[in-house]
Assembly symmetry: C2
Homo-oligomer: 192 residues x 2
Amino acid sequence: MARPREFDETAAVEKAMQAFWEHGYEATSTQELCEATGLGRSSVYNTFTSKRALFQRSLTHYTTRELGKRKAILDGPGTAAERITAVLDTVIEAGLGNRGCFVVNTLAELGLPDDEVGAALRSDTEQNLAMFAECAREGVLDGSLRDGLDPAGVAEFLLSTISGLRVMGRRGSNRDALYAVADLALSAIVAR
Amino acid sequence: MARPREFDETAAVEKAMQAFWEHGYEATSTQELCEATGLGRSSVYNTFTSKRALFQRSLTHYTTRELGKRKAILDGPGTAAERITAVLDTVIEAGLGNRGCFVVNTLAELGLPDDEVGAALRSDTEQNLAMFAECAREGVLDGSLRDGLDPAGVAEFLLSTISGLRVMGRRGSNRDALYAVADLALSAIVAR
DNA sequence: CGAATTTTGAACTGATCGATACACAACCAA
DNA sequence: TTGGTTGTGTATCGATCAGTTCAAAATTCG
């Protein structure tokens, strides 16, 4: 048919995501996106239509990857309490690098805009809540979480805790401080 | 000596703060700042030097006001647990409006820049942690908080919880969900 | 090979960015 | 009233913004 692409689209999205993650949506110029991806302006606009659309691609690229990793842990072996602890550990270790969470950064900068970006953010929240609620249900059954806990409430609590840990990371808190937060949060839901 | 100002500087900072809070640092143009404050460009730059400096003024205006309100509650009547609960309640009620927290938004957008803005953010974190640590100490003494709690850890946990609540508000969580989060967080530290 | 189709690079669009220059208006002290 | 000083309005600065145009380059199919 015609001339093939000289680049890998997914790799370009990955590079763009790094740029958006580092500087935020507004502070990342199209020029920087070209340099980060190694593409020319024409290729960027021909492939991704607009800066906004590329941002949306970057965001979903991030959320699907992160949700996948999180789901792998929560669907893995061990009690629900152990799996939740493992998730919090990964959040802390990832949050020590000072870029924070791409989703939290975007929520803080843009809120929930009335477009595909907002839809992606809502979807990420819903999927996280569903995963944690399911795990909380399992935890009450396997006895690793306290009796009488509301799974939906636990899910909100865990997502809030993770969001809080990410913000504390941006505030400059060190590893010990973040683990102290996670330990207290866990003490609210694990069986004693 | 010379011609006096035609406007109230503090009122102008308040208006600028509203604009920055609503749209973030990068997305707020100097034109918008002029319209929000009702000042001409000359007056803005003559008074505040630069967009960055006006942002720093707006940020400290916000943090001193919020820290004052928070300190008033924590220094007020009641047990430490009751005062902490009251603080969380105000955070929830304030966080339902969807602008989030100006400090959290700024942390997420800018991180901790190496200038006065970063210094203001660090100072805000330190003062919050000091206030909460002191209250946690009192709580262990008055018996309203659990024995053996580390005040510094509790402080990190509470600031993390507040930051998480603010992010959950931006995610669109409703009042009930936020109170569920706060209740679980409190259950980790209140005496039983 | 050659026609059709797509990508690519570079120049360029109008708009807007943060910030400044400067004339003039407004005020106080003498 | 007058001289000195400061605030204000307008016009404008060069730089950069997101996005477009267009012709040359590269590829596949006939």
